[in-house]
């Protein structure tokens, strides 16, 4: 394990260099933390299903991360793996078998004790088709069962190697829930997950709010936390406020204590008014545009490269995000283990783009558009609506930039479900995606299953490289393979990285200690209020 940790630290150092908006991970404590009181948080997206085993969304994780604990904890700064509900663990050399020694004295909030049987019940349940897992099951790809060696020892086995499993086990997706709640069926768990975490999901008002109450007997916080006992806050109310402007105004007028996703353009104004804006670069897949090489006219690599060169990502991040989100330099964000800087300098070169298009036979017409054999050069870009992080505006900027070199882009906003379905059918011409996970294995998650907006076609060597990376505990090999995949995607111009998603958290004056988990989402465990 030590070798793996060393490499992870190295990766994290690279990340710190590559990331221009590194910010403190928690508000500096000005005074001794005070127990009691409540915090009102306004989030932007309705989390929907609150079962981490089922739901793939970050909106849902924002809630569940505070309710379920995981076997392993990942340090938000160093991305090192540390003990949590498991005191220690070992992996077999071929990465197919993992043995965890569990902590004792942990209980779920419904009183059921946490033990080896609970771990088995959780993993068995995730892969069950009836659970309808949208993400967690894919993290357990090749799952071959869990054996209970004794009440505090379990072995998780895989048919194929799954070297990144310990990291996956640190996410809320594979978090531990009370086996008793599974009996009520997946819909019941969606409404009310029961974990061993510092907070209990107490009440839910559909479309409006979720109330978390303190777990007073909590004392098994992860080794990565400064404060490992019961949370300071008695109550956290998470209000769902989809309107950015309304969320901002509510924070400014102190109607709420903290808000999710501050629009980058508003960040400086908010700071000027005495509020704190915490930034956390998210690990995983950068916000990336994807070109489907299986569909005309994008099957021509020159057309794809021309499009990649025609997009001025520097201008996009500066104008749209005021540099608050850094320009992406690879398909993985700078904060991801396995990241390799491919685009140290921007590949924007409009003249080269025009040349490539001329070479590919798309001649410029009098009206500035291009055509070949009477067919206009036009591509359809399908994206998810309502869009996060002003991606709808980004699409308009890119549309203009491509128009300048004669490529016509039709924007097709669709609901998330439809984008996913269209991707799965291979009908997407141009799409976009970002995906949070603090491990290079995220490339496998995104490229092998049909994720919404992900590239449909990759170079023939890519799947092999990813499988090989998942099959080894040798971090040198993993890193090398991930670097090759990142370079392949960009050289073939099937992927055009644009920006590294960064979570901007707006924090009111009375709130302290609000931090981020490794996925870059706010966590309330160590937060407290002074009033």
């Amino acid at each position: 394990m030590t070798g793996r940790r060393a490499v992870l630290i190295a990766a994290a150092t690279v990340a710190a260099v590559g990331c221009s908006t590194s910010a403190p991970d928690a508000t500096a404590p000005q005074a001794e933390p005070k127990s009691g009181g409540s915090l009102t948080f306004a989030t932007d997206a309705d989390p929907g299903c609150l079962d981490p085993h089922q739901s793939p969304t970050a909106a849902s994780q924002l809630v569940t991360r505070n309710v379920v604990d995981s076997l392993v904890a990942q340090d938000p700064k160093t991305l090192e793996l540390k003990p949590w509900l498991a005191e220690s663990w070992t992996a077999s050399p071929d990465a197919t078998s993992f043995t965890f020694t569990l902590r004792t004295g942990v209980t779920f909030s419904d009183g059921v004790p946490f033990d080896a049987n609970a771990v088995k019940a959780n993993f068995d349940r995730i892969v069950l088709p009836a659970t309808k897992s949208l993400l967690a099951a894919s993290l357990l790809a090749g799952y071959d069962g869990t054996t209970v060696d004794d009440p505090r020892t379990v072995t998780v086995k895989f048919k194929a190697p799954n070297a990144s499993f310990p990291q996956a086990a640190s996410t809320a997706f594979l978090g531990m829930q009370s086996p008793k709640v599974f009996e009520a069926g997946p819909e019941a768990v969606c409404r009310k997950p029961v974990g061993s975490g510092p907070f209990v999901a107490a009440e839910r008002q559909p479309q409006a709010s979720i109330t978390l109450t303190k777990r007073a007997d909590y004392n098994w916080g992860p080794e990565t936390a400064k404060h490992r006992g019961a949370p300071y806050l008695d109550l956290v109310t998470i209000n769902i406020v989809p309107e950015n402007g309304v969320r901002m105004g509510s924070l400014r007028t102190n109607q709420v204590d903290a808000i999710a996703n501050v629009p980058p353009k508003e960040a400086d104004g908010l700071k000027g008014a005495g509020f704190e804006v915490l930034a956390k670069a998210q690990p995983g897949i950068a916000y990336t545009l994807n070109l489907n090489a299986a569909r005309e006219p994008l099957s021509d690599v020159k057309v794809r490269q021309a499009i990649a060169k025609a997009i001025d990502t520097e201008a996009v991040v500066n104008n749209l995000y005021q540099g608050k989100y850094p320009r992406a330099t690879s398909v993985l964000t700078g904060a991801t283990p396995g990241y390799a800087s491919v685009l140290g300098t921007s590949q924007f070169d409009a003249a080269a783009a025009e040349r490539l298009l001329d070479e590919a036979g798309w001649a410029k017409q009098d009206d500035g558009t291009r055509a070949k054999n009477g067919k206009p050069l036009s591509i359809e870009w399908t994206f998810i609506s309502p869009a996060r992080e002003q991606r709808d505006l980004l699409a308009q900027v890119v549309q203009q930039q491509l128009k300048a070199v004669g490529v016509d882009v039709k924007l097709v906003p669709l609901a998330a479900g439809e984008v996913i379905a269209k991707t799965a059918r291979g009908e997407l011409q141009m799409g976009d995606i970002s995906f949070v996970r603090a491990d290079g294995d995220v490339l496998r998650t995104v490229l092998t299953a049909p994720r919404g907006g992900a590239p449909a076609v990759v170079a023939p060597e890519v799947p092999g490289l990813l499988t090989a990376a998942a099959a080894t505990v040798d971090d040198g090999v993993r890193k090398e393979n991930y670097a090759k995949v990142q370079r392949s995607l960009i050289e073939n111009a099937t992927a055009i990285p644009v920006y590294d998603p960064t979570y901007l958290l707006g924090v009111g004056k009375a709130v302290h200690g609000l931090g981020f988990d490794p996925q870059g989402l706010p966590s309330f465990h160590e937060a407290w209020v002074s009033r």
Partner: protein, 314 residues
């Protein structure tokens, strides 16, 4: 006895409307392009196998002949069963009943505001003189011409963010109800004030009012005892449609003010192609329309005993 018979006849006449509404919901499901089974199975992860598709199709009864599906749907609907949401897997009825109280609260408050201010402006428009009178005649048109989303944003900007009188969001307490209710009420105030104003003017010219005035009855007395009573019939009719419109306009108010409710549920159902939920909402509104109109008809009888069921039928 006659009143009971009237109610029964009205109830009977509501049945065809309800069946028609339910039929419309069923047709909706058939009109939606694409395969509902595909939609339901199109999550991330491995592509569904034909067996999985077949199993779900059978479970949903989509492999039965269309007429069997239709009567099955009607029978389920009468029992209040609209199946499960495609998006969340939750029964449609519980999804609706979870947010219905919030909607009812908002619509009721907005209705009270609409009636109080609508009637107030109409009456003031009759008794006032000079600029106030012109104002009372002009204001309803302005209210009716202002889009709800704009009102919502202006109200939130002025009363929540600048004056900080009312909270912008949430569903806790009376304060949070004020701005969304005003947003909903404005167009309704406009319509009620205008219709009642017009009827008041018409009644004013009628013989019995002229007579009452000639007998020396005071301006207010004539207005309250005679004109208002007679002019109220078209207004009562209006209340029937107003309730539905308030619920529909809530789509926008609930989105902007981040309130839970039927409007947002409907909007979510539409963006996610969640047809069972949409069917449930459509059926609920159909029932509501029938019930409200029944109540409206009863109000006619109370206001004006001369009105009989037959006259209403026209």
């Amino acid at each position: 006895m006659r009143r009971a018979g009237f109610v029964l006849r009205r109830l009977a006449s509501a049945v065809p409307v309800l069946v028609a509404v339910l039929t419309l919901s069923f047709v909706m499901m058939q009109l939606v392009p694409g395969d509902p089974v595909q939609t339901m199975l199109s999550g991330a992860g491995p592509a569904p196998t034909p067996e999985q598709e077949q199993a779900l199709r059978h479970q949903l009864g989509l492999d039965r002949p269309l007429h069997e599906q239709y009567f099955g749907f009607l029978a389920d609907a009468v029992r209040g069963d609209f199946g499960r949401s495609v998006q969340t897997g939750e029964p449609v009825v519980s999804a609706i009943s979870a947010v219905a109280p919030a909607s009812a609260e908002l619509a009721l408050f907005a209705l009270v505001l609409s009636l109080v201010f609508g009637v107030g402006i109409a009456v003031l428009g009759r008794v006032a003189t000079g600029p106030l009178r012109s104002l009372c005649h002009g204001v309803p048109v302005v209210f009716m011409s202002t889009p709800g989303y704009w009102v919502a944003l202006v109200l939130i900007e002025v009363f929540s963010f600048r004056l900080t009188w009312f909270p912008a969001t949430g569903d806790a307490g009376f304060g949070a109800l004020v701005l969304p209710a005003v947003t909903l009420a404005l167009p309704a105030i406009g319509v009620i004030a205008q219709v009642l104003g017009t009827s008041l003017a018409a009644v004013d010219a009628e013989a019995f009012v002229v007579t009452a005035r000639a007998k020396g009855a005071g301006r207010w007395r004539v207005l309250l005892r005679h004109a208002l009573r007679n002019a109220s019939i078209p207004t009562i009719t209006l209340v029937g449609t107003t309730v539905g419109n308030l619920l529909a306009a809530a789509v926008i108010a609930e989105t902007v003010f981040a309130r839970p409710g039927l409007g947002r549920l409907t909007l979510q159902a539409i963006t996610n192609h969640d047809i069972p939920v949409l069917q449930g909402v459509v059926a609920l509104l159909g029932v509501l329309y029938v019930v409200v109109n029944l109540l409206v008809d009863l109000c006619y009888v109370l206001v004006d005993p001369r009105v009989t069921a037959d006259r209403i039928r026209d």
